[in-house]
């Protein structure tokens, strides 16, 4: 982290609580870099987050107005703040379980409304903070603490879901694609309307463990092997794509 970017953080709360090998630390820095690079006034930011590891990215680490809400509700809280004070630049940072399971309804309605905010979903395909329960983004067959014999349910394609709901900008990148991720975050922040960036951010402690991948580096290699460019993905069958992620931009306005 370069010196000039440290000013955005409450350094007194470091070190972060993230596990060794967690992708959220990378995402935390990527978001700050994106805001800094486009000269979005830091004082105008409002960061809302729900409950879960990803929700701790802005709260308390970002030295800005932060709103740490109830599980699943940051988008709804943020909607109220933005409607009353449209001058706030509202960014929601939360996890896949928080935004798409318990928070799914607020997510799709905010996309439908096309309210001017950016939602960054850190997708690790698991409920990490609570010990590794299955998420609506876990793959079919995944072993988790609540699917010990393999997940019988298929996952959401979150980017497609939010795109269909009406968002103005939708993109999906992995923390291993840092250059494209930061570009997408910048575009999302600058798009007028509802922006959604799905960020694949691995959880070695829970997800890696259950997949039998002990070392964090192996989990990152595994994730990279599952990424497909979204243009290529368009000509692939569902069977081939199972367990993989199409990365790229899905909606640009």
């Amino acid at each position: 982290m370069s010196e000039e970017l440290l000013k955005y953080y409450r350094q007194e709360v470091f070190p972060t609580p993230f596990c060794p090998g967690c992708g959220h630390g990378i995402l935390m820095g990527a978001i700050v870099r994106a805001i800094h690079d486009i000269d979005m006034p830091w004082e105008s930011m409002l960061f809302a987050s729900g409950i879960g590891c990803a929700a701790w990215i802005p709260s308390p680490h970002y030295k800005a107005d932060t709103l740490h809400t109830l599980h699943g509700r940051p988008v709804a809280f943020a909607t109220g703040a933005k409607l009353f004070n449209p001058n706030l630049n509202v960014v929601v940072i939360s996890g896949d379980g928080d935004l798409a399971a318990i928070g799914g309804n607020h997510l799709i309605h905010a996309a439908r409304r096309n309210i001017d905010m950016t939602v960054i979903c850190a997708n690790n395909q698991i409920y990490g903070m609570t010990g590794g329960q299955v998420a609506p983004t876990s793959d079919l067959g995944d072993t988790t603490v609540t699917t010990p014999w393999g997940n019988p349910e298929p996952p959401f394609d979150l980017s497609k879901l939010v795109a269909a709901a009406g968002a103005s900008y939708v993109a999906r990148y992995s923390v291993t694609q840092i250059h494209y991720l930061i570009k997408a975050l910048k575009k999302a922040l600058q798009t007028k309307g509802f922006s959604f960036v799905e960020v694949l951010s691995p959880c070695p402690t829970q997800y890696g463990k259950f997949r039998g991948i002990k070392a964090a580096q192996e989990l990152y290699k595994d994730l990279k092997s599952r990424l497909v460019n979204q243009k290529d993905a368009q000509s692939m069958s569902r069977d081939v794509l199972r367990g993989k992620f199409a990365t790229g931009e899905f909606v640009i306005s």
Partner: protein
């Protein structure tokens, strides 16, 4: 129709909540309104400029009225996807500086409960109008009940305090909504207007006074927004965009808002202060009205729409030279414990009519050692004087 301007005095940079005298938005004088509408007008008079709601019988009229009136006075309205979204948006808007409101009924209030606890724990002023209907569950949507008396206090988990007021007229639907906002701002805690379908859908005259008092939340920059040296104090509440780098969280937090989920002292101090800031001031907050209690041997204790029937019954007995009085609870929570004990302490018999199975009666039973007759009416109808008169006959 709209005359007069809500004059907003400059807020002082002070640790204390600030009151100011305002002119109403509706022209002073007589108006004929439905209860739900009067609550909306009271909110506007109190300075409410954010409403997030969801349709529910019998409260939808409040929402429908305010969306139109907000065009006149410049407010922000949103119909959210559900009640949970509504109360969440209210809290977000409150931290952006708004006086926020919603209107719902029992089922919607049940959905909002988690966030009521969040608002209490983060000391966020919000006002919820609850037009109670016959329950439980879907119940009888278009008929009255008083089933939320306990839910409004205990509906969320943990130990916290809320303020709840019970109107018995359209005049009070207007006035007590203003009072709910004022109390919510002064004590930085959720406040409820506990009405019911009886008074919500009734139409009566409202007299709008020349001026009224409104209170704003304590406001100061550079001070801890979630802690006070005083063990029962209310800290100042800045808003997003003030440059305070606010740390609002539903986790246990220290005076500056830093999460402290492993600190016993912080949790103990916070929970105690949040409860004491209301309970230590219960005598100032809780209001009652008593009629003919000075020499009464028998008392009727009632609130809300039911108190109208109780007043008629008690007055009839008075006209027959019987020593009966009425204690009307205007504030449901916090309980007016001192007033209740003082006023009822010397009676010999108490009759408590309610449109529920004795949700307030159980509180009075706990507070005074006097024989109590409950009239528990749960048939979806408003209380008439008849059962109260019958009960009073058996008292002597």
């Amino acid at each position: 129709m709209v005359q007069g301007v809500l004059t907003l005095h400059k807020a002082f940079d002070t640790m204390e909540a600030v009151s100011k005298i305002c002119k109403p938005v509706l022209a002073p004088g007589a108006h004929f309104l439905m209860g739900d509408e009067a609550a909306a007008e009271g909110a506007i008079a109190a300075g409410c400029r954010f409403f997030a709601g969801y349709p529910i019988t019998p409260a939808s009229e409040t929402m429908q009225h305010i969306v139109n009136r907000f065009r006149d006075v410049g407010g922000v309205f949103v119909q959210m996807e559900d009640e949970i979204g509504s109360i969440s948006a209210m809290v977000g808007a409150a931290w952006a500086g708004a006086k926020s409101m919603t209107a719902t009924s029992g089922p919607g209030l049940s959905l909002m409960m988690e966030c009521v606890g969040y608002a209490a724990f983060t000391e966020t002023p919000i006002v919820i109008v609850d037009i109670q209907r016959a329950g439980p569950a879907t119940g009888q949507a278009t008929r009255p009940g008083s089933g939320d008396i306990q839910q409004v206090k205990w509906g969320s988990h943990g130990d916290y305090q809320i303020i709840a007021l019970s109107p018995w007229s359209i005049q009070e639907m207007y006035e007590l909504t203003i009072e709910a906002f004022n109390l919510s701002e002064r004590y930085r805690t959720p406040a409820f207007l506990l009405a019911d379908e009886g008074v919500g859908h009734l139409r009566e005259q409202v007299l709008i006074p020349e001026t009224h008092v409104i209170w704003d939340r304590p406001y100061a920059l550079g001070k801890p927004p979630f802690g006070e040296d005083a063990l029962d104090g209310v800290p100042p509440m800045p808003k997003f965009g003030d440059g305070e780098n606010l740390l609002v969280t539903g986790s246990t937090h220290d005076p500056w808002g830093y999460r402290k989920t492993q600190d016993s002292k912080v949790h103990h101090t916070l929970v105690h202060r949040l409860n004491r800031k209301v309970m230590d001031h219960a005598d100032e907050i809780a209001r009652v009205e008593s009629y003919w209690m000075d020499d009464a041997d028998i008392a009727v204790v009632a609130y809300g729409f039911t108190a109208r029937a109780a007043y008629y019954a008690v007055k009839s007995f008075r006209d027959r030279e019987r020593k009966v009085g009425l204690l009307r609870l205007i504030t449901i929570w916090p309980l007016a414990e001192r007033a209740v004990k003082e006023i009822l302490g010397n009676t010999k018999h108490i009759v408590i009519p309610e449109m529920n199975l004795g949700q307030m009666a159980r509180e009075i039973e706990r507070l005074v050692d006097v024989q109590i007759t409950r009239i528990a009416q749960v048939n979806g109808e408003v209380m008439t004087p008849t059962p109260i008169l019958e009960a009073l006959e058996t008292c002597t």
